[in-house]
């Protein structure tokens, strides 16, 4: 999609990874294409050149079948080496659902995923509290804002040791938490048993972000809502600001 005419800024360039077994790649790509300031291309898991991109998204799905542990094989793909370099150089990297699991397995984000507390796959619209609105992925939201997005996973029960959690909290790396519709972070509102109701975190530098809920599924009022658009708008804003566009 072309850049919007009144800004004349070149669009933010997104890469959407396809691992064998990815299944939200097209949804994410299609969502990106609905933003005037963005364009997306697919990244095959064997690709290694990312230098034309502003943001790499690892989408949801079951990379390599996830028979071992979600994301455990994907981290070894040739592309992930390139993603590591891309992130080290400050590129924006976002993992959604399985993509988040891959980022954890790859060590780009701290912590690990366990199976959901009730050992069942859960697909449901949940409420999320934005805890940090200063990241390149959430700047369009307000701190404390409650947004709605669906989860769809079997392993989204986030865990990290006590020290790690303290570090996350101290550095503002907990970006999204499961909450009730009023924004209260309660045990009842925690769908999967995640530690401290964590739904999304970023790295210390703030350029790598993972979230279990699917923002790409709530980018259109016709299919469930538009609360996810803020994530993509935030990234587009960040890219413009960084490049002085």
């Amino acid at each position: 999609m072309a850049a919007s005419p009144h800004t004349a800024a070149p669009p933010a360039r997104f890469g959407v990874v396809i691992f064998p077994g990815s299944n939200c790649d097209a949804d994410t790509h299609d969502a990106i294409e609905t933003f005037a300031g963005a364009e997306g291309r697919y990244l095959w898991h064997k690709e290694t050149r990312l230098d034309d991109l502003d943001c790499v998204i690892l989408p949801g799905g079951f990379s390599y079948g996830d028979y071992l542990r979600s994301g455990a094989i994907a981290r070894f793909s040739p592309l992930m080496e390139a993603v590591r370099r891309f992130a080290a150089e400050g590129g924006l990297v976002m993992g959604i659902c399985n993509g988040f699991q891959v980022l954890l397995e790859a060590g780009l984000l701290p912590g690990a995923m366990q199976q959901n507390e009730k050992l069942k796959f859960i697909c449901r619209l949940v409420s999320l509290k934005v805890e940090n609105d200063q990241t390149p992925f959430t700047r369009r939201y307000r701190q404390g804002q409650v947004i709605q997005a669906p989860i769809a996973h079997h392993e989204g029960n986030y865990f990290i040791d006590e020290e790690g959690l303290a570090e996350l909290e101290a550095n503002g790396q907990v970006v999204l938490r499961y909450c009730d519709p009023e924004g209260e972070v309660t045990q009842e509102a925690n769908p999967n048993g995640s530690l401290a109701n964590i739904a999304g975190i970023c790295n210390r530098e703030g350029n790598v972000f993972g979230m279990m809920p699917h923002p790409e599924r709530v980018c259109d009022a016709l299919v469930g809502g538009t609360d996810g658009r803020g994530v993509f708008d935030s990234i587009i804003d960040s890219v413009r600001e960084r490049s002085g566009r």
């Binding site: 064998p20 077994g21 299944n23 097209a26 079948g65 069942k120 697909c123 299919v223």
Partner: protein, 747 residues
């Protein structure tokens, strides 16, 4: 080629062990001009099994209408195809995986999904939705909870991994399914009309390429031994006939096949399902009017020392057979390599009209394709009306009226057949592909089509209990109900696919039920303009001589003009009027009320007025599309009271209903319990703002449309001449309905 298959060696003859009769064996010998060897006999035994050969159903299925201006592909291919305009088409098919799931619920259900999904992309279509109608025994029994848990997990594991949303289905629990659950799986795909691929192996000299998983010993004899016989004490021994699924492999297979489709590399494509290589190759040759030579020495094997017949009939999952021009072989291999898939040229198309099997250079089987595919014998059984069937319905005063109708409402709302199925559908990814224009739990699913204003609506329905009481009326009712569900979301019904689940057709009463149900479905399909695009017949759903309820399950496709204007069953505004559309008299016979409260299934269900049904549905669609109706909900399990309660619960708004306003027309003089909980086809509850309600009544023409109550408050009240018959807090009804299944399934 040795000829020992017909000899008596002191044991049963080989043909009998493979499930063939002596007469069928003679028929095979005649067509072969000699005795078949073991490989040939094994192939025939599959192709002439009930599952593949439709021996008892073929003569009757001809009764179903299969043509219409939108039907691009009727029965006979991997799936049916319906034109939805703008160059797009919908591929749809439903199948059963009953016996495998009864033995091994997780893998049985998972591979059911795998098989039906392959049928859809074999047509060149991208699968966009799964629907799963499931029937189990009572959840009071631990084994049934185990089955439900395993089946749902199997469906979830396979469908979720494939990235295909499971958007609808139905779940029913009743003792008749205790030893023989019904696990039906439906898949729907979208395809540009010029991209449709068929399974016609044309062009002698073209290559036959086997793509996907290697071939193992899993699923040997699935179609003949497992699917075409009743269950008995040896059921457990049949576990090895159940296949094991690998959804990751299938996801790669799907993407690779669609990439080959886009590159125009495929002459024909067929999945390997029941009967494995035998049926896929012979069916492709039959449709192409050709022959095929297969070299089993080239088939990649999962384990060494497999017998030739095992290779030919293995039902290992995640395999496709493609016909490819020799000049495109390298491109096909390149796509498969990209997706890390094995692809092997295992044969070629010939002009011989024969399926010939070689092991390297050595010929090991040589059979006429026509005999395999088209000449399975058909059987007509003397139909016998089952003894339980009645000419008359039960007298309306047959049961005493319960004193506490509020209690009845809460009990029915908590019945596993009525309650919310959220516990199930939340385990399915129902949003992937981001086309879900409605959330699950309504009368039908609606998917948008990206880039278009219109969308497709889908539902699946079955009602074995009602069909058991009267198979012809049941057949009519199930088609009418599916169409009514589509109409409630605003969709025009277009076509159906069906899965006919019955007992052993060799028995007169079962054959009768099948014949009558098909007749009823045919009548309704004709009246409602929804031809049959294909489907599946599942016989022998019996255990120890006891058959399941005769259960024709219908999957129906509809089209909505504007996905921005959909009907839901949710009450929207306090002050809206509640209207009852239709003129039918509910009855206890065959209802959930009869079973739950009075503990039996008896009588005769009311018939469907198909002409009235057609007019009713047209009115409901208009009301939804013109935005006059704020909600629309079909009255089905649990009757009118449960219908209104569901709309109230979903909308978070109470309702006050006047029973006297309900009792006019066909319902004159009907007792309150039957008005509230009786069941009949042909009734829909609407809600509308008062002005819109008036307009609706003006436009209703000859469809009776009565104002029966008002939305609002926090209670559900149904008031008759003598005061409130029901007065319960909405919260109590909501709790009963929303949490019943989760409570039943809690460890």
């Amino acid at each position: 080629m040795s000829n020992t298959t017909g000899q008596d060696t002191g044991q049963k003859p080989a043909y009998e062990l493979l499930g063939l009769t002596a007469g069928e064996y003679r028929g095979i010998c005649e067509r072969m001009g000699r005795e078949p060897n073991y490989v040939e006999l094994a192939v025939f035994s599959l192709m002439w099994s009930e599952h593949c050969g439709y021996k008892h159903s073929r003569p009757l299925l001809g009764r179903l209408p299969t043509e219409g201006e939108r039907i691009l592909q009727g029965p006979g291919e991997n799936a049916g195809i319906v034109d939805i305009g703008g160059g797009l088409a919908v591929a749809m098919k439903i199948e059963s995986h009953n016996h495998p799931s009864a033995i091994e619920p997780f893998q049985g259900a998972a591979t059911g999904i795998g098989g039906i999904v392959r049928d859809i992309f074999a047509m060149g279509a991208r699968p966009v939705a799964n629907l799963d109608p499931l029937h189990f025994g009572s959840l009071d029994k631990p084994r049934q909870r185990f089955l439900l848990d395993g089946v749902v997990e199997g469906i979830a594991a396979y469908g979720n991994c494939m990235g295909i949303p499971t958007v609808a289905g139905e779940i029913h629990f009743e003792d008749a399914y205790e030893d023989n659950c019904l696990i039906n799986v439906m898949c729907v795909g979208l395809v540009r009309q010029e991209d449709i691929i068929r399974a016609r192996a044309t062009g002698p000299g073209n290559l036959v390429v086997l793509i996907g998983s290697s071939t193992g010993r899993d699923g040997i004899g699935g179609a003949s031994i497992l699917a075409s016989a009743e269950f008995d004490e040896t059921a457990e021994e049949k576990r090895p006939t159940v296949q094991v699924g690998n959804p990751f492999m299938e996801k790669k297979l799907l993407e690779a096949c669609l990439e080959m489709r886009d590159k125009g590399l495929l002459v024909a494509l067929q999945d390997l399902g029941a009967g494995g290589l035998s049926s896929s190759s012979s069916e492709m040759a039959s449709k192409g009017g050709t022959g095929i030579d297969i070299d089993i020495a080239r088939v990649p094997l999962r384990e060494p020392d497999m017998e030739p017949f095992e290779i030919m009939i293995s039902e290992s999952q995640e395999r496709m057979l493609a016909v490819v021009e020799p000049s495109r072989e390298a491109e096909v291999m390149a796509v498969c390599e990209k997706w890390d898939l094995d692809a092997t040229v295992v044969g070629k198309v010939t002009d011989t009209g024969r399926l010939r099997v070689f092991d390297g250079d050595e010929p090991i089987a040589d059979m006429p394709v026509k005999a395999l595919v088209d000449e399975a014998p058909t059987y007509v059984v003397e139909p016998r009306r089952p003894e339980h069937e009645r000419d008359q319905p039960l007298p309306e005063d047959h049961y005493p009226q319960p004193e506490d109708l509020g209690r009845v409402l809460l009990d029915l709302l908590a019945s596993p057949n009525v309650c919310s199925k959220r516990w199930v559908y939340e385990q399915y990814d129902h949003m992937v592909q981001t086309d879900n224009a409605l959330w699950p739990g309504g009368d039908a699913a609606v998917l948008r089509i990206k880039g278009r204003r219109d969308g497709i609506a889908l539902t699946s329905d079955g009602n074995g209990r009602r069909t058991f009481l009267d198979p012809r009326r049941g057949g009519r009712a199930v088609v009418a109900e599916a169409a009514r569900n589509l109409s409630c979301v605003g969709a025009e019904p277009l076509a159906i696919t069906n899965c006919l689940n019955f007992g052993n057709p060799e028995k007169g009463p079962i054959y009768y039920q099948f014949q009558q149900a098909v007749e009823g479905m045919a009548e309704a399909c004709e009246a409602l303009g929804t031809p049959v695009t294909g489907g599946n017949v599942s016989f022998y759903n019996e255990s120890f001589g006891q058959a399941v309820y005769p259960n024709p399950v219908v999957g129906m496709l509809g089209l909505v003009e504007d996905t921005g204007r959909l009907g839901t069953h949710r009450f929207q505004n306090a002050g809206d009027l509640i209207l009852l559309a239709g003129d039918a008299r509910p009855a206890a016979d065959g209802s959930e009320y009869q079973l739950t409260v009075h503990g039996e299934v008896a009588g005769r269900i009311p018939d469907v007025d198909l002409e009235g049904e057609r007019r009713l549905q047209a009115l409901v669609r208009r009301a939804v599309r013109e935005g006059l109706a704020a909600s629309a909900h079909d009255i089905s399990d649990g009757g009118l009271a449960c219908c209104i309660a569901e709309s109230a619960i979903e909308g978070g708004l109470g309702a006050a209903v006047d029973l006297e306003a309900l009792a006019g027309g066909a319902r004159d003089g009907l007792r309150p319990d039957l008005l509230l909980f009786g069941e009949v086809s042909g009734l829909v509850v609407l809600s509308a703002a008062p002005a819109a309600a008036r307009r609706l009544q003006e436009e209703a023409g000859d469809v009776p449309l009565a104002v029966i109550g008002e939305v609002g408050g926090d209670r559900l009240t149904f008031t008759g001449a003598g005061g409130p018959a029901i007065d319960v807090p909405l919260a109590a009804a909501a709790d009963a309905w929303q949490n019943a299944l989760e409570r039943r399934m809690a460890p």
